[in-house]
Symmetry: C2
Subunit: 506 residues, 2 copies
Amino acid sequence: MKQYEVFELVLNGQPPEGSEALAEVNAVFSLDGQEKEVKGFYDGNGVYKVRFLPEKCGVYSWKVSGAVVDEGTEECVPGDGHGLVRAEKTHFVYEDGSRYIPFGTTIYALVHQEDALVRETMESLKKAPFNKVRHCVFPKSYEFNQNEPPCFAFEKDGDGKWDVNRPNYKFWERLEKAILELADMGIETDLILFHPYDRWGFATMTAEENEIYLRYAIRRLAAFPSVWWSMANEYDICFAKTVEDWARFEEIIKEEDPYGHLLSNHYCMKPYDNSRENITHLSMQNILFYKAPQWIREYKKPLIYDECCYEGDIHLSWGNISAEEMVHRFWCAYCDGAFATHGETFLSDDDVLWWAKGGKLKGKSPEGIAFLREVMESLPGALEPWDEPVWTLYEPDLQDGDAPADLMENPFFKLHASLTEAERDALNLKDSAYCGHYEEKAFIKYYGIQQPGRSCMFLPKNHTYRIELIDTRERKKSVLMNGASGTVWFDMPGKEKMAVFAIATS
Amino acid sequence: MKQYEVFELVLNGQPPEGSEALAEVNAVFSLDGQEKEVKGFYDGNGVYKVRFLPEKCGVYSWKVSGAVVDEGTEECVPGDGHGLVRAEKTHFVYEDGSRYIPFGTTIYALVHQEDALVRETMESLKKAPFNKVRHCVFPKSYEFNQNEPPCFAFEKDGDGKWDVNRPNYKFWERLEKAILELADMGIETDLILFHPYDRWGFATMTAEENEIYLRYAIRRLAAFPSVWWSMANEYDICFAKTVEDWARFEEIIKEEDPYGHLLSNHYCMKPYDNSRENITHLSMQNILFYKAPQWIREYKKPLIYDECCYEGDIHLSWGNISAEEMVHRFWCAYCDGAFATHGETFLSDDDVLWWAKGGKLKGKSPEGIAFLREVMESLPGALEPWDEPVWTLYEPDLQDGDAPADLMENPFFKLHASLTEAERDALNLKDSAYCGHYEEKAFIKYYGIQQPGRSCMFLPKNHTYRIELIDTRERKKSVLMNGASGTVWFDMPGKEKMAVFAIATS
């Protein structure tokens, strides 16, 4: 047993008489007087399994009851893993405290492709900058997704209907193999539990069937540290499910998941209620990057733009942006203290589009995202939104970065404070740079489509900073000034897609 | 007297005893039993003038009363002018029915520069694609605007305060000379009557002073066919004026302007109430191009994005976009059936920035705007927003462009219909192409940052069309297909900033 790695007990017994999916296997793992209850599951052929994710080292005693019975002890020693990724304030961190900044990509039907293609996808991921993949339990039926998957999550009953009580063990093993292979590359699985793009009947299962499926899936997968639960891709167009269904799914997941994996619910047009207690982070589909500071502060949770369009050239507007635009959107998100997820949809004679099936990456955005990842990981800590004190721009006598005491007496600021949200949004869309900071140790400003030839930063006066210029297109850094403190002005190249960052040197 | 040209009577008399600005000069021009009352004005040195804009041909009889008295007849014959630009539905047209599509630029303090610079500006405009200039009556005090103007609109009183009752005739002559010189080049003057960027006291005149100034200005200028009244640049930060003041200004303008020139009120953060009857068109400051169809339909008036940032490289975010971005914004606006206004703010050693002072154009966006103008003027009529029937994209069985009868039974469309305005905006920002049409004769679609390798148009089945591809960056057109009808698919180059348009050939 190794800390942060799946520990699996394999026990033989009689096959379940009722539902194979809900076979009753209860286990308790105890360490230092603390008990953790986990559920086991049936894996076919008279085999029951109990999986446990040890998060502490020491000698555990364990006891299994129900359809199979056994007990024992096992010493847990340190391993190489970092444990679950958790939400900490408005960013993410591994259970062991190691840094994790998500740089995701999307391969919805990853495990529903033939082995050779899955193989190719894994090889592509080895060379790519991604450390999270959004993929689905259920296969996908949609444009560019007409192929049949090699296998399905359940067996069929005599009427040809899916029988959720009889899992297809081959499928689950295949899914787990992919999750583990991704994990070996340091890639988290943002596992999509439901989605609407279906021609087989998975999207229209009854509430009872959904519950059986969910309980089984979570009992099998909750011990995998790299798994996140994404309740849906586009929950709001899962028309067979109601708001109450989603709330119920949250509760089922909570009951079955002893570790508290990350949990989100992704939408198409109507955001899910991300203020809900079980929701650990925002999984958004929009390109309103200027709203990130507002949402991060409002929800106090990490924010991932999980769908901000895909690099590609298909006819659908969500799948035909350029590499430069994709990378630009990433910079907008990360510099605001949020995160984004990549996808790729290039027309292809063989109908293999990365976003759905994987294969080879054809686009250029991964190079830009790799550079962004390098820059972000070089920062001393996790970014939060930064409201640079811009009033100094409008109050030329106040060049020292201090807020004037009578700021709100200034009619300009009074007017600004009186704007409706729509008016403020319109202003922010037009004016926004994307600014983040880590305490007083790092400040970053991404200018996006602005191309100033001269700019400024309003830095704390009690530190000095090295200011670096980043050309996000050329992927080059250069030092603009050393020893910067307080309000500093500097020349810039008058080009788009530039960032500056200030790193405290004292 | 020529149709659509200023006719001026010059009459000598005793200088006014009271206000020179409000000197009482009433004139009536009669033709075919129809009378038009116009006010004259005092022009200094015992000279009174009455200006009249004849809009019909024929023999007018006229009669002047008040401070000076005279009468006579004058035959009006056809001239070269086209008359006032008027709002017709959601676009503009000259009084004589000729086409006018505004392609404006911004030179706020045009007439407040030394003669040599004004000269240079006029030379630049000769070579530029612009047919409207936004400029101010009052000089501008702001960053890059620190110079004193050659003259002001009024004389000062003994206390050094502006005396609005004593116009500075030299100033008004200078302003009129500029307006006429612009008009000779086919350029309309969008004359800004008030603005907040002031260090001389014009922004803080009393309501009474404002009224005297306005009445004088309009009596002098209303007969110039090329003048539009822009009540303010950024009315909402004219903090010395209230909403009631602006409503009062509308009434004063209405009283003094016998012709009904175009009238708008431009804002900084809070749009003016553009539903007001006197307001002829929307003068907006934002980059929400995807909102154009909604606003055009809501207000049923033309919409000009009079400030959608400027090409340049200054530190302020509204003044540092690239030429490509500026041209892109123009395409967005025009293809939606709206209009936009250019400006340029490049840092310069001599502090001459086009947006404020004129001079030479340094940017590259005028070339792109010239090309857009050529394309727009080649269309058979004025564009209106076009809602392409996109449901076919989501209903693959309905490839013929017909709306399914049970469209609103489709849960996808039900969901779409239930979105809040903010949710719909978020979707439109992400998904929007910019689409316009002129009847069934022309359809245009601008893909903006989308770069599809394949796309489609849903055209009427009762006509055939020639479809042209436009590369807005390369400024090149090519024919994609002839004889297109109904739903047509075509390959595209998979590049950004492309447009297609379909012109009916039968």
